[in-house]
């Protein structure tokens, strides 16, 4: 089982994503933005960071990178793709997911352990959760305000394409508390919070049980592995 993790210039969380993949039990394969070769990976993670300095718009230049042409084609063919934070922005700019992400409503960068509600478990990356489950994973972004036009929002809500919503607090002004989306097939998922930072006891969010013991993010990676194994 091989899961590719893409590195763009300015990507920050590729190593953490690779580590999450390994902790979940798969082999992490490093993919390079300028290389169209996906090296026969079974799934792809677009990690967080500030690809191409967030110039033009967050994710806009990365969406034009050679590796993204291969990923877009493969995703349209059903390859599981997870976009985290900047990776979510890349998915939106690649038109694999609809809408846009703008500067946080309160104009500040925010970093916190964020509660989310799992709104859809019919995806490659969320099938290990229970519908309606509350999870806690870190969130850290400056431009995480999700927006879409009314027609798109109606479609997202009507077709059940919202994967996660913010719980208790909307940290960035996202419409309908949207934290993450899935595509129709469920192979593509994008979200602003960072599951790869909640995969190992001692390094995750606090839980009532113990400090830094939260590993809710690991389920993203074990979900895709179990789907691929059972495919």
């Amino acid at each position: 089982m091989k899961i590719g993790v893409v590195t763009f210039p300015g990507t920050l969380d590729d190593r953490d994503a690779q580590r999450a993949v390994r902790l979940a039990g798969a082999e992490a394969v490093s993919l390079w933005h300028a290389d169209t070769n996906l090296h026969e990976v079974d799934a792809v993670v677009l990690p967080g960071g500030f690809s191409f300095g967030d110039y033009l718009r967050c994710g806009a230049i990365a969406a034009q990178a050679p590796v993204m042409q291969s990923i877009i084609d493969a995703a349209n063919g059903g390859l599981p793709v997870l976009g985290i934070c900047n990776g979510f922005q890349v998915l939106v700019e690649s038109h694999l997911l609809p809408g846009g992400l703008i500067r946080n409503e309160h104009q500040h960068f925010i970093c916190r352990d964020q509660k989310l509600i799992v709104e859809n478990v019919d995806t490659a990356w969320t099938n290990g959760f229970k519908l309606g489950q509350e999870i806690t994973i870190p969130l850290k972004n400056g431009e995480g305000g999700y927006i879409a036009d009314a027609e798109t929002l109606n479609r997202l809500e009507g077709e059940g394409l919202i994967a996660f919503r913010y719980s208790e607090l909307n940290p960035n002004g996202s419409v309908n508390n949207i934290a993450g989306l899935k595509n129709k097939k469920g192979n593509v998922v994008g979200l602003m919070p960072h599951p790869e930072h909640a995969v190992e006891p001692g390094f995750g969010p606090d839980t009532p049980a113990a400090m830094r013991s939260g590993i809710d993010g690991l389920t993203f990676f074990t979900s895709v592995i179990s789907q691929l194994v059972n495919a």
Binding site: L56, R57, A60, P98, G100, I102, R103
Partner: protein, 74 residues
């Protein structure tokens, strides 16, 4: 330009600063981008059409922004 119905935090911050400086006649500020494409020779009509396509497909995101003008300047 950011779409009219969209929150423009940078514009809002500048508008607040103008209020603080006493410019109460300014009711709102919106901040957009100017992007210049340079050509070796005088752009043709086809170049202008291509630039409009680039503006629509890549330089702007129609969800967030409107392209307000694409024109040839010296």
């Amino acid at each position: 330009m950011p779409k009219a119905d969209l929150l423009d935090p940078a514009g809002k911050a500048v508008a607040n600063a103008l209020q603080r400086k006493g410019h109460s006649e300014v009711t709102n500020v919106r901040i957009g981008k100017r992007i210049e494409l340079h050509y070796a020779t005088t752009p043709t009509e086809a170049d202008l059409q291509a630039a409009k396509q680039i503006a629509a497909d890549f330089l702007s995101n129609g969800v967030i922004e409107d392209v307000v003008n694409v024109s040839v300047e010296n």
